[in-house]
């Protein structure tokens, strides 16, 4: 691209046009190159860590660097003349504005993933609660793996009782911690984040829960159908009793007819009856 621009510049020069050609200042060019490299690195990081989601843990450094690079572009002022600073020539001088688009894309992704939620306030590294959660998560995974290895010989799907029994404690702790984090997050909702936790934590929890209740079938709530049916049919039975008893025992409300004071009420009745026929 650089060569092309130079070619173009030379062509224009040949055509006798003035010298201030659309060529970037060297400082600006280096800024742009840094941004391009940074975004390539971030893209690679995001792609590699898409499944299972580890975006926030792995890519926050890249993201922070990219932010800094973009910031230096917007702040940079070229030294040649006021009308040709880097920000203007890189960010706003064409229709496509690819640098802005890229930067917006990364910002939006970061926002949607809600990574700020599990990073420290200055975005350097994971927050303590997140560390704790991930630690617990790893422990549960290890526990699952450990217990599954023991019974890998018989592969009947319903036979996961061992896992359920042994890992119940870790799983419950993990689940409780997650719920706690969620509640904390909702209370501190005014800090600007939405009610979501960051995507890493959410995804980790989802995987564990799916394993636990779908694959291992560990969460079997005790169903007490009989008492529920008994209580509900009792309550549903009450209105029938009520309506029947009020129908049988309550005195029906009677209305007292008032005779209208009219002449020839017969005549008008006849009138009406005529219309009936």
């Amino acid at each position: 691209a650089l060569e092309l621009a130079q070619e173009l510049a030379e062509e224009l020069w040949g055509a006798g046009l003035p010298g201030d050609l659309p060529e970037l200042e060297p400082e600006c060019r280096s800024l742009l190159a840094a941004f391009a490299e940074g975004s390539a690195a971030l893209t690679g990081c995001l792609g590699r860590r898409a499944r299972p989601v580890r975006l926030c843990q792995g890519c926050h450094g890249h993201y922070r660097r990219l932010l800094a690079q973009y910031g230096s572009i917007t702040r940079a002022v070229g030294n040649s003349s006021e009308s040709h600073n880097c920000a203007k020539s890189i960010l706003t001088s064409d229709r496509l504005q690819i640098v802005v688009t890229l930067s917006e894309f990364f910002n939006e992704t970061w926002e949607a993933a809600n990574c700020a939620n599990c990073l420290k306030n200055n975005s350097e590294g994971l927050s303590n609660s997140t560390e704790e959660f991930l630690d617990l998560f790893n422990r549960s995974l290890i526990c699952f793996e450990h217990n599954l290895q023991g019974q890998a010989i018989d592969l009947s799907p319903s036979n996961y009782t061992e896992v359920c029994k042994n890992c119940n404690e870790t799983y419950t702790m993990l689940n409780d911690l997650y719920n706690h984090l969620q509640r904390m997050n909702r209370q501190g909702g005014e800090s600007g984040h939405s009610a979501h936790l960051c995507i890493d934590v959410e995804d980790a929890m989802n995987i564990t829960r799916k394993l636990w209740s779908r694959t291992f079938n560990c969460s079997l709530p005790c169903s007490d159908t009989v008492p529920v049916i008994a209580v509900s049919s009792f309550i549903l039975f009450l209105p029938i009793v009520f309506y029947l008893s009020s129908f049988l025992h309550s005195k029906q409300k009677k209305r007292i007819l008032i005779l209208p004071k009219r002449i020839q009420s017969n005549a008008s009745l006849v009138n009406i009856q005529e219309k009936y026929s």
Partner: protein, 802 residues
């Protein structure tokens, strides 16, 4: 020969008859049983006209007595309540100004500038109505949100706890008991303190705007009970909404502010005294109703059109503009206060109590080929609405006949609340429809038997306030509900809502209707996309909206205002056309079976409601056959004793009395001179405006219009006014206070003509005179309202004491 002016008592009847040569002929005529009456129905000789005029001045009490002794049915006739009755409890409002001398004097005194201040005051009042209605709506919304949130959290924690350990029947009991006890409080205050606050209040306001005075309907006490009752019944988990009652609340606020005082609190702020009469009050009440609609749905134009639709016979352009102003202020107040409450001030994102959410995304757009489908949905909505109304009709009839004691009503409401909770619980319990939790879109995700990280999707419909459920049905992404869940929900909720409407709690039917419709509409949309192999245009949210409109239209049968309300609530003008088509179809189909829910309830309450026009086949009826006769007349200068006797006569609770010329001794025919109201007479008696006292200079000052206004609207009963024996012999001069130019019609006027005059001018009394200007009869609201077009033709309703 006796004349109209002569006041004849039963004891003096013989003499009267002696003087009159045709005594034998006339008595049966009065009763309507004699051959003369039936025979001479059409061709009355002048003498019999005269005779009627004569009888009109026979003391009424005696007259009824005579009637009863002569008729075979001597005992009061008792029948079970049915829909073909008119209750005596309801009276008309005086929309026609009494243009007596006092009024004319006052109007003459007010100059141009003063009229301008009156006009400014009107605007100020409208602004205050808007602001206060908006604030009341905010209050309801915030309290409901917090209390319901508390309740659902308690129940959810309980269910979560017992799901793990077992013993879910306790959670069921807890939920049912919580609901029942909250509803009990709500029902007790309504049943024992102010029964008129029951229901949505829209029928009552409709009646008020129609010109019927429903006792207590616009009192402050009613407002307080209404607001508390709505909060409690929504928190109690009944299948109800808080939108309908806002209309009633707005009306009460309007009536209260425009009077500048509260009789309940015994406070008079001495402002807005000019507006203390029915005409002005009605204008403000229509503004209040509009403000209520606007606050409920965030639909200011819909509110104006609602008032227009319900009270349009008394309408003018300036009033419309003022009402629009009140509406706008109301929704803006609600919006700004709720925005501040939700923490994003200046955002203005909650214009109504219910927000349908945004309907402007691309997949929500409709195409032309969908319109026949929408119309079909309208048909379904009409049929379901008619079914709803028919079921509710039977239920209401049963309630009026058998469940009329307040304690029974409270027990019924509690039972409904408990059953609603139970049914919801059972549905959730047996539902196997689990959906993954996505962020915080579900307010109270109930896991129950679902896998960890999932929630029971039946619970989003039942375990939530109905408003939220409606919005969820509109906006949840496709696939959030499986068809089985929706089908069961529609079925159950339909019967619950039908059972709930008409309980002695204050609650509206808008939201339950929308919810039923949204549920089956969504189901319809889902099945459509199955049929078309998942075409993109079949977004279930759009069909949920159309279903909601169809169902609501099928139940309440409002047309213009409902279209605009729905359009404004969705915030999408392009939906106007399909919504209009859907509502039209629903109304046409529904009207084929039964009438709308509100009209049905008005009829069941035996309210003398005047429809737009007289029944179509009533042209052959004339004023003669419609009017009540004989009429209790007063002479221009009347003995106080007679006035007191007439007023305290319990059997004839008349409110307007024609005033006739007062020369007792002449045999000349005396014509109609004016009309005086009971309220005016009572004020006169209270201030003892007697001729003798005036002559003795005992009267301190002349009575002014202010004295009548101060007594408005609760005039003391006649029993509270003491008139001594001496004073009974005094005379009272009515000529200054009566309305000297009452509206009259000749006897030959047809019923539609009388009806038109009565309805268009909002009259309360219409005097029927003969060609000599003698009073022959009186047409009141009940005389006109009793003719109704039934299934087989014209029917006549009977009057009853209720």
């Amino acid at each position: 020969m006796a004349n109209v002016a002569k006041k004849v008592s039963w004891s003096g009847r013989d003499r009267d008859d002696d003087e009159d040569g045709r005594a034998g002929e006339t008595t049966p005529l009065l009763n309507g049983t004699g051959p003369g009456a039936a025979g001479s129905a059409r061709q009355l000789t002048p003498s019999s006209f005269l005779r009627i005029g004569q009888l009109s001045n026979v003391d009424l009490n005696e007259d009824i007595h005579e009637l009863e002794t002569e008729l075979p049915r001597q005992r009061p006739n008792e029948i079970p309540h049915n829909e073909k009755l008119l209750s005596l409890k309801y009276e008309s409002l005086d929309y026609d100004n009494s243009e007596n001398q006092l009024f004319l004097e006052e109007e003459r005194r007010i100059n141009h500038a003063a009229f301008r201040t009156v006009e400014i005051k009107r605007w100020v009042i409208c602004a205050m109505i808007g602001i206060l209605t908006g604030l009341v709506a905010c209050f309801i919304d915030i309290v409901v949100e917090n209390l319901a949130g508390l309740k659902y959290r308690v129940v959810k924690d309980n269910i979560d706890k017992f799901t793990a350990k077992g013993g879910l029947s306790f959670s069921l009991l807890l939920w049912a008991t919580l609901n029942a006890s909250v509803v009990m409080v709500g029902s007790v205050i309504v049943a024992f303190i102010e029964p008129v606050a029951a229901g949505s209040g829209i029928p009552q306001i409709k009646c008020y705007l129609n010109g019927v005075k429903i006792p207590h309907v616009v009192r402050l006490k009613t407002l307080v009970i209404k607001v508390c009752g709505v909060i409690l019944s929504v928190v109690g988990g009944l299948a109800v909404g808080k939108e309908g009652p806002m209309i009633h609340s707005g009306s009460v606020i309007a009536a209260g502010i425009s009077q500048g005082r509260s009789t309940s609190l015994k406070r008079d702020f001495k402002i807005f005294e000019y507006f203390r009469r029915d005409t002005e009050k009605r204008d403000f009440v229509s503004a209040g109703a509009a403000a209520g609609v606007s606050a409920a749905f965030g639909a200011p134009v819909g509110g104006v059109l609602f008032s227009l639709e319900e009270g349009a016979s008394f309408w003018n352009q300036f009033l419309t503009w003022r009402i629009f102003f009140a509406s706008m202020i109301s929704t803006f107040t609600l919006n700004s206060v709720l925005s501040v409450y939700h923490g994003n001030a200046w955002d203005l994102s909650s214009p109504g109590l219910i927000n349908f959410g945004r309907f402007d995304s691309e997949k929500m757009e409709y195409t032309i080929q969908e319109i026949p489908i929408f119309i079909f949905m309208g048909v379904v909505g009409g049929i379901l609405g008619a079914l709803f109304n028919a079921l509710n009709y039977w239920l209401t009839m049963f309630r009026i006949r058998y469940i009329h004691r307040p304690c029974l009503q409270v027990v019924e409401a509690m039972l409904v609340a408990a059953v609603t909770a139970t049914v919801g619980f059972v549905m959730i319990y047996y539902s196997r429809d689990c959906q993954p939790i996505q962020g915080s879109s579900v307010a109270y995700p109930l896991q129950l038997f679902c896998a960890d990280g999932e929630y029971n999707s039946m619970a989003t419909a039942f375990f939530n306030t109905p408003e939220k459920s409606v919005v969820n049905l509109f906006h949840d992404p496709p696939g959030s509900y499986n068809p089985m869940t929706l089908g069961m929900f529609t079925l159950v909720y339909f019967f619950l809502a039908c059972w709930t409407y008409g309980l002695t709690v204050s609650a509206g039917v808008f939201i339950p209707s929308l919810l039923i419709g949204a549920a089956w509409g969504r189901l319809f949309g889902i099945s459509l996309s199955y049929l078309t192999k998942g075409s993109i245009w079949a977004d279930p949210g759009k069909y949920a909206l159309m279903g909601a409109a169809a169902q609501l239209g099928g139940i309440v049968r409002m047309t213009l205002s409902l279209t605009v309300i729905m359009m404004e609530a969705t915030g999408n003008v392009t939906y106007g056309f399909p919504i209009m088509l859907v509502l039209m179809t629903a109304k046409i189909v529904g009207d084929y079976f039964v009438e709308g829910l509100y009209d049905m309830h008005i009829q069941l309450q035996s309210v003398p409601f005047l429809h737009w026009e007289a029944p179509v086949t009533s042209h052959s009826l004339t004023a003669r056959e419609v009017m009540s006769t004989p009429v209790t007349c007063l002479r221009r200068i009347e003995r106080v004793g007679t006035v007191v006797d007439i007023l305290s006569d319990t059997s004839s609770n008349h409110n307007g009395f024609p005033v006739v010329e007062s020369n007792p001794d002449t045999t000349q025919v005396a014509g109609l001179r004016g009309l005086i109201l009971r309220s005016q007479l009572i004020v006169l008696l209270k201030h003892k405006v007697f001729v003798e006292r005036a002559n003795l200079n005992l009267v301190q000052r002349r009575l002014k219009l202010k004295d009548f206004r101060d007594a408005y609207p609760r005039f003391p009963p006649i029993q509270s006014i003491h008139v001594s024996q001496d004073e009974r012999e005094c005379m009272i001069d009515l000529s200054e206070f009566m309305n000297p130019s009452p509206y009259t019609v000749p006897q030959e006027a047809s019923l539609p003509r009388v009806f038109k005059l009565f309805r268009a001018l909002g009259l309360r009394h219409l005097v029927v005179v003969d060609n000599r200007n003698e009073v022959v009869g009186m047409v009141t609201r009940k005389d006109l309202a009793r003719y109704r077009l039934g299934k087989e033709g014209l029917e006549e309703l009977s009057l009853a004491q209720t």
